[in-house]
Symmetry: C2
Subunit: 222 residues, 2 copies
């Protein structure tokens, strides 16, 4: 294991953005201290290190805080440059970063809309989400992972969809994932979830479903 | 002037995201061909090069398309590494990339909300926007630019606010910019707009106001 100097990660067990950073740390073999936050009663450390967003994850390296999960992954890859996460070629890097933008923009937006709407609005959100999964399916055609034979930045960034999208389907009673309609996306989710570093660093499925069921009910009631 | 190989930029004159890429190209002294798109009748080239988002800007380098303005700036900075745009230090880079996330997330969201709402919803959006300008003002305390004495990535990314936020205020009749309330932000906008490469690459103010007036009316009527 590479020594991480002093690396701490403030997280919350059900958060996809937190897991994504943990996957990156594990790929690099960086030792770190994980601090679970109670988001209904945030620690003074969290508020001190992330005064603008007041959210997890926060990565602390040698006492200096880093905010935003994708920024953390770029940092981790720049500081510990073994087991590279981003491609080396500048043009390939643009593609990886494009998928990062797509994940945090359209994908999150679409899944959020399906989760927290009902009726016609939800039906439209499901169609919007299907269009997005179609784009990903198209991109994955003939490929094991986004980056080719091994997982890379795009996979880590979009990987939340492999685990949290089926959870969302169960919680909000909809179906978008269909291995006949989107075979490449379906096999990517299987491939991704079988990678040891991913498989060993996922939250328990049942507890996650329960967590998002409660969260959805609160949001819909608000 | 550094030769850009074959660099083309598909743009639209009033778009902040397009100008931001032009600023980066000009800082590097890269020669490029600019192609103005009619967004009501997009060219087959644009649709071919950006089939997923179908938007400007698209940067073409040696025939290969790059999408998303921030991804383009990172690419430009990696391929032409003179006149650096991103800081060299990995931790300083995390701060620059944090502001990029903030610009494309909260800042854009807030300005869009003020533009395209009315009544109480607009009042709330103005308060939300004020909170964001306060965050930027705080960050700029004692500094000429986000990066210090010279413009860098954060300035290029957030620079749209220096020109397009006053335009938005005029178009949508609101006032957030206040040099007494936000003195550091106000002096940053002045400093930024006085940098020759920025000053010489802005759209005409009156035409921009007119453009967004029409755009706003269409959106509010839709």
């Amino acid at each position: 294991m590479a020594s991480g100097g002093e690396v701490k990660l403030f997280g919350m067990w059900a958060s996809p953005a937190v897991r994504r950073v943990e996957w990156a740390l594990k790929i690099k073999g960086i030792e770190y201290e994980y601090i679970e936050e109670d988001l209904s009663n945030k620690s003074t450390s969290l508020l001190e290190y992330n005064p603008i967003n007041k959210q997890v994850p926060v990565l602390l390296h040698k006492g200096k805080p880093i905010v935003e999960s994708l920024v953390m992954i770029e940092y981790i890859d720049e500081v510990w440059n073994h087991n590279p996460i981003l491609p080396e070629d500048p043009y390939e890097r643009t593609k990886a970063r494009f998928w990062a933008t797509y994940s945090e923009g359209k994908c999150r937006d679409a899944v959020g809309k399906v989760y927290f709407t009902e009726g016609e609005e939800k039906e439209n959100a499901i169609k919007y989400l299907e269009d997005i999964v179609r784009v990903l399916d198209e991109e994955l055609k003939g490929k094991r992972f986004f980056g080719g034979e091994n997982i890379g930045f795009s996979d880590l960034v979009l990987g939340w969809m492999a685990f949290w999208l089926p959870v969302a389907e169960e919680v909000a009673s909809f179906e978008v994932l269909d291995s006949e309609k989107f075979p490449w996306f379906a096999s990517w989710t299987d491939n991704f979830l079988q990678v040891p570093v991913i498989k060993e660093n996922l939250p328990p499925r049942d507890k996650t479903v329960e967590f998002f069921q409660n969260y959805r009910q609160q949001r819909l009631a608000a």
